[in-house]
Symmetry: C2
Subunit: 485 residues, 2 copies
């Protein structure tokens, strides 16, 4: 920009070098939408009542379970009753893993029961169980240091999750959960018989937390189970005293043939650009402990409630708001992948996922680049009445990750997560941990954000997703393959 | 006391009407003892190391278990090694209740498992279990309102413990625990088949809390078990929806013949008045879940550590400090009763019990009357370095209650109890909940209080206990008795 003209006769003043950019003017329709949604959230507990109903009546919703399909059917029926458009179930085949009986006990240096909770997708043990010494490591990478020393042993990965720290949000989860996801194959590489993992939580009342593991298909599959932080500490004290703990572990887990499930979808058809989409995302499956109210029943009830609130307030935006209750986030992400395959050619302008529980509203994590963040920041004050006005850079969600990886703007609802990981994947994830007014206000925050994303002007036309070219099938290499076996 | 002489010629001044009593001068020996004990507490983790050892090696210590007797033997051996005098086990016959298998499930309106934890001293169910509808009350007294409506049913006493509140210390426990202690007989009176009790805790991660019940010997004994607060809420929501929950309950609990146990005792012989006693009390038994580190392994390690600290610092007071690790506090108080029967004729000047866990040091509850409280208050500043300088009126402990009821001054150590009832009688009561420096500083606070109680001048000679006359055996009334049967 040119420098301002200066009158040399005028008294010397310092010219403003970096003037503050003018605050963009937010159109009244957004302010009005925020006011109405905030008021509506104060009046109702509908999302909570519905969540309590599915939690109590159907219970937890692991992929392959009847409860998951019953809940999906309930969601479809409910979205139809709510008057959403194009309500349908899009078929997805999902892994059907079953836990079976699980039992473990210390055999040395003491004899006592050892509570265990098998990790999702783990193989079972032989029927007679596995009896072996336990080697303790504090980080999954230490397995490589021990190498062949873990052969024939059970490896305990005793990495403690640090206590919640708001400044680190949930960034402690990623590093800590590696032992759970990778531990079995990392230990199988050196001939370990099984893996135990300290439950990924910073606060335990002798609480077990499951979650999926991921096997390296090139290595033997060995069973893996979570133990409580308390018992992990006990193993560590035994080792510190020079003792060699020995346990028996019996796990009846197995993988059945894939089962039929589906993504449950309903829409609020856009008034001007019905073929452009803003996705409100959650996952309807859960682990098979607790009732999955926090992870992620709450997210699905928020997404459904958000669409219904917009409809009831006649806040129909220009683009279509599409509610997608994804199936099988927990142990396969098959719902997210199937949605992407079926819908990648449609114009997705943004997606907002709720999969961080239903604590008090706090704000949003906004993916994409700084410019996309800057473009949304001026709307933050509209969320103040809901307590959801904190916008941070970086966000999205697992179910919409195929979409965001292809260029869609992804956002994640960010409630207070200070107790999220206390409950996550544990029997303590039950409806009583959720406050009705938190759930309803989070739903209103999602509705307002969906309204903004589906209504606002963009710089140019909506861009199609960048769908990666399918990788060519690798040439068969029969000799190399034989070597690996 | 006579009024001070007034010179009528002196200028008129207002006589002080209620002069502040002069702060009593605390003898240097107490100040010095406080200084030494505070310094010593900073240096060591001995009490914690010992507690971790017994928790890890012997585990929980229910009356009748080998672990209890092994722990008592360890305590006797340790007190001998510590150089305490007259170390001995005083035999006590204790109830031998065993839990057996326990299993329950919802049959209607849903089918799902129901985690249960049998209440201590409960009878079992018939082998095939009990199948019945569940009636929910919010307070044990509501059973009387329902009366015959509970006949043939299982009664759930769904009284929630309020969240911790410092100003109410643990006063919420007393009212809430009545359902657990009295519920079975209160419901049996009207023909109920069994009782479920909401676990007595304000903070749960699907946590079960046991504890003893007390049967009215004139009523049929029906089985009783705790359920989690989460499942209690689920029952309540079912009833609110007009549904009638129905469950199956199988409990294998039974009472075996009394087992031999004992109080473990060691002494620091008083240098001038060896036949006058200050008791340092705790209970060495625990429930058969968790490892009993908080309730009350910590109290016993504090009492042992306190005596050893005094000995090592050569702070031998005038009277004898007697460490008593009582057996069977949890389900019988047989240790407390047996001690009283054996020792009621000895001169007990005070007793200090530690049975409120090992949170950060905070202070003491002081039983007896206001004058006894006022006499100890001037010593409070000596506890500031340990953080245990808050003296409140009212205190004692269950094990020393037969002594305090007979007139002995009773005190209770009062650490921070904000998380005490989260752990109490649950599988989460494990050593990892305790900070070594809290345990050691609480031990030092007990040592200093024991030193003061055993050293200080009293107004006159020590008073014998007021032992109640044994009640005459009631005349046999064969006719009346027949009527009651
Ligand atoms: Zn989730
Ligand atoms: Zn106790």
């Amino acid at each position: 920009m040119p420098s301002p003209a200066v009158d040399p006769a005028a008294p010397s003043v310092e010219a403003p070098v970096d003037p503050e950019p003018a605050t963009p003017v937010i159109d009244d329709k957004y302010v009005e939408a925020g006011r109405k949604l905030t008021a509506m959230a104060e009046e109702d507990t509908r999302a909570y009542d519905r969540l309590a109903y599915i939690s109590d009546v159907y219970g937890h919703r692991l992929s392959g379970s009847q409860a998951l399909e019953d809940t999906i059917d309930w969601a479809l029926e409910t979205m139809r009753e709510d008057g959403l458009a194009k309500v349908r179930k899009e078929k997805v085949m999902v892994p059907h893993w079953v836990r079976g009986e699980e039992q473990a006990a210390f055999l040395a240096p003491v004899e006592r029961p050892l509570p265990v909770l098998t990790l999702g997708m783990s193989v079972g043990t032989p029927r007679r169980g596995i009896t072996a010494e336990v080697v303790v490591v504090n980080h999954v990478d230490e397995i490589d240091t021990l190498g062949e020393q873990v052969k024939g042993k059970i490896v305990l990965i005793n990495m403690a999750m640090p206590p919640y720290d708001h400044d680190h949000h949930d960034s402690f989860y990623g590093p800590t959960v590696q032992g759970r996801t990778q531990g079995a194959s990392r230990a199988a590489k050196y001939g370990a018989k099984a893996v135990l993992v300290r439950s990924v939580t910073a606060h335990s009342l002798r609480t077990l937390h499951t979650g999926t593991l991921v096997y390296d298909e090139d290595l033997p599959k060995i069973p893996a189970a979570a133990i409580t932080p308390e018992d992990a500490d006990l193993f560590a004290r035994m080792v510190a005293r020079g003792e060699t703990p020995k346990i028996r572990l019996k796990l009846g887990a197995k993988l059945l043939p894939d089962a039929e499930s589906g993504n449950a979808i309903g829409e609020l058809t856009g008034r001007e650009l019905p073929d452009e989409y803003v996705v409100l995302a959650c996952h309807i499956d859960s682990w098979d402990v607790g009732d999955g109210s926090t992870d992620d029943g709450s997210g699905c009830l928020m997404a459904m409630e958000a669409a219904l609130m917009l409809k009831e307030l006649e806040l129909i935006p220009r683009r279509t708001v599409r509610v997608v209750l994804y199936t099988n986030e927990e142990n396969g992400l098959r719902g997210g992948k199937a949605y992407f395959e079926a819908h990648a050619d449609e114009l997705h302008v943004a997606g907002l996922e709720s999969d961080s529980g239903a604590g008090a509203p706090w704000g949003f994590g906004i993916g994409g680049d700084q410019a996309q963040y800057d473009a949304l920041l001026p709307y933050a004050p509209l969320f103040e009445g809901l307590g959801a006005h904190n916008f941070t850079l970086g966000g999205g969600g697992a179910d919409i990750s195929p979409l965001t990886q292809a260029g869609m703007l992804g956002l994640g609802l960010r409630p207070d997560t200070s107790h999220y990981f206390d409950l996550h994947h544990s029997p303590a994830d039950t409806i009583d941990k959720i406050a009705p007014y938190h759930l309803e206000r989070n739903a209103a925050a999602m509705a307002l954000m969906a309204y903004i994303l589906a209504e606002r002007e963009l710089d140019g036309p909506a861009q199609p997703l960048k769908v990666p070219e399918p990788e060519p099938e690798p040439e068969p290499e029969p000799e190399a393959k034989a070597e690996n076996e």
